[in-house]
């Protein structure tokens, strides 16, 4: 089976809709907790540089997840059937609406994850 077809065969629900923002939440929580533990607990080493690579790795992983969710949803949106604005009472319209909303949320989550990672690049230090 080709990759887009495989993506299309996946179920799409309210749970898949919130995958991208949930990845953002996980990434955000990771950054916050890492800073809280490394900078506050004991405060032995106030240079965050040593952990910067960890943030970069997790950011890359999170971005990859968000992009994957977005691409799957994009493939799911590109099926034959009712055109936008997806306001018919059909299975296709509902599917394509949820897929499109997931794509949009992936975009927002991508930007928000980048925003969160920027302080690590620019500050490199707890203080």
């Amino acid at each position: 089976m080709r990759l887009p077809d495989r993506a299309r065969s996946l179920r799409i629900t309210l749970w898949t809709l919130i995958v991208p923002p949930t990845v953002w939440a996980g990434h955000f929580l990771f950054c916050y907790l890492l800073a809280a533990i490394m900078c506050a607990r004991g405060a032995i080493d106030l240079s965050f540089r040593a952990y910067g690579w960890l943030v970069v790795v997790v950011t890359m992983l999170s971005l990859a997840l968000v992009v994957a969710a977005g691409l799957i949803a994009l493939a799911q949106e590109r099926i034959a059937g009712d055109p936008p604005p997806h306001d018919r009472g059909t299975q296709e319209a509902r599917l394509r609406f949820l897929a499109k909303s997931t794509v949009l949320l992936s975009g927002l989550s991508f930007v928000a994850i980048l925003f969160t990672a920027l302080p690590v690049v620019f500050l490199q230090d707890c203080r």
């Binding site: 923002p21 953002w24 809280a36 604005p85 009472g89 969160t116």
Partner: protein, 844 residues
Amino acid sequence: METQASYAHAQDDPALRTAQEARLRAVWESPKGWFFRWTDCNNNTVGVWYTLTAFGFMLFAGVLALIMRAQLAVPDNDLVSASTFNQLFTLHGSMMMFLFAVPMFEAVSILLLPQLLGARDLPFPRLSAFGFWSFLIGGVFVSGSIFFDAAPDGGWFMYPPLTTDPTLSGIGADIWMLGLSFIEVSSVAAAVELIVGVLKCRPPGMRLNLMPLYAWYILVVAVMILFAFPPLIAGDILFEMERLLDWPFFDASRGGDPLLWQHLFWIFGHPEVYIVFLPSIALFAMIIPTFARRHLLGYPWIVLAAVGTGFLSFGLWVHHMFTTGLPNISLGFFSAASEAVAIPTGVQIFVFIATLWAGRVTWSTPLLYAVGALAIFVIGGLTGVMVAVAPFDWQAHDTYFVVAHLHYVLIGGTLLPLFGGLYYYWPLITGKKLSDRLGRIAFWLMFAGANVAFFPMHLSGLMGMPRRVFTYPAELGIGGLNMLSTIGAYLFAAGVLVLVVDLCRSPWRARAPRNPWAAGTIEWLALPEDENWGIRSIPLIEKRYPLWDQPDFMRKVDEGRYFLPDAEEGRRETIITTVLDARPIQVVRLGGPSVVPMVTAFFLGSVFILTTYHLYWWALAGSVLTLGAILYWLWTGTGEFPEKPEKPIGHGLSLPLYSSGPASPSWWAMFITMMADATAFASLIFGYFFYWTVHPDFPPADIIGPGVHWPMVALAILLGGWIATVAAQEVNARGGVVAARWLVAIGAVASLAGGAATLIGPWSTGMDPTAHVYPAIVWVIAIWTAAHAGVGLIMQLYGVACGIAGRITPDHDADLRNIALYQHFMAFTALVSLLTIGLFPEAS
């Protein structure tokens, strides 16, 4: 289909329709009599009470603000004392947030949501009534305190350590904590009701892509309440433990940390801002298409905005704590998220502008409010972007600049949209339109007043006026700006007064026609001469704007040609559908008028109020009465076996009358409630690890912990109880009714023993919770776990009683499945809490 044809034919008979209408009217009739009229629980009635009560609290809190503005009009004024002023601003903020903004969203949603979804009522009408009575009792308790000079005076966010010291702050802090905790209970109740309502009570055919956008917003906001309110409830528990029992959670001299309160408060407090903003913006999504005379553009973009804002709003809380000395890199994360949330917020505003641009606009009064509100909100949003930049915030923090920012946001984002919604939906509720002339006068007074009052505050803030001061010296040079603010505040109040006059004149006005704004969404099916049944027949939805786009829609609904046009068995009913595609799966029987919700709220209120005055034995008596009332409510009002398995709803469809497990609304209600409960629990665990991050050695080496033995014993027993209860569900499903009863009984014994073993751990090592924060947080987690085992025990005993009474069978096992669901969460709680208190000290 032949059946469909014959059914449609049956509805052609006017005599049949009249008979159906008579039956529906009788079933949905409100109770009469000076007392019994208050036992009603129909959303039409309770929603109106709820809305009026919240509106009343808003007026009261507004008057408090006017007194403050009078005091600040001139320098060195002595109209009120500093102490009274503290009470005024605390109560003003607390009431506007807890007694107006959040309850108003719940009230409006309870009132409108069933109409928007073509449902006869929400799935748990008695829960709505219970929420309303809790809100009324708690609200009167909190707001009445100012007449006894006992109002809270620590600011609406009640920062310790000053507020946790009973010698520095009077009973007001307890009134705030306990009174508002009580109201938070009613908010969580409303969230459960609204989530299940949106997901399960939509009319057949209303797939997710056809849902009115208001419902999308309500879904997002209700889910936000589930995750935002519990941290505050957890914070309230710690706070009251410190005030009443001297457990030092926020006392730095004994290892506590006042910053923990700030974290817990703002994890609630920032999502809260969006919890009050999104439902108001949701009203725009209904008003704007009506007056632009076209479908809203970019439906998925609004969903993006609502869901995106819902998530991002949980990553902003520390921007209220930029000046507390947290690591700068942490501030950076929260600053980034605060800027990112401007994206979805901006998206929805552009969607509204684009819709107006693309449509043929009718300049009605509601639209005037909507557009004016957007203008004010955008100014507040822009200053929000400014204060989200940490270095700017260090300058502006705790000055009038912040006061200006938050009032622009809340007036533009909550208050004016609600007034627009009031003008828009008044005909739906009362059958009469409000005056356009008075509405416009009120609007311009309020619009001018808000700007004259709050714009100068930006300047006085930047010139150095701190918030919450009761007066200021003339030398500061801000007298003129303050006088201007005061004039603006009274101008605004004049606008509100005109609006109130308009409302009061409404009963003498002529009836408006049905659907007076020619709107396209189905709430406008409501008849001007109010019928209590909600909707004549539950329609099949095929479009987003059925009144515009589905031919003959209104006539078919009115003639009962859709689903469930009758109430043959004399019961209140509505249809349950699937989450994604709204396929009908069940007819659910709804609770009718009952005194039980009111009495339960009264008993529960007594527990909180008596605890405030340290009358613990009386409070205990109140708890027992509350428990009794809840058990009576469950036993008499839920889990009923229907007299037949299925009933026809028209068009050849026949739906079951009973369901259990994930198909049933009650299972979802339990699931959602337990999500909130798990969030509160997670907040307590956050507290434990928060102390670990701020102390170099935590748990402290010189304080003995609860040991490993007893926590592990407790964990084994509680997990055993969980397995027994889940096994009971499976055995029962396979026909082993008696064996299932014994398994539940074993689960009950395990809950009792496991709860006790949980407490024996810290007790056996003599941990003194007043000595240091470590024993205190261990005790709180242990008590939380034991209390949950206790609740599990009560449920299991109830399950055994149901079994003995023959109320649990293989086909009717909703109660058992809900008990098992609770046990899943119980097992999770036990696992996390007992591993944390038992093993973490070993690991570190």
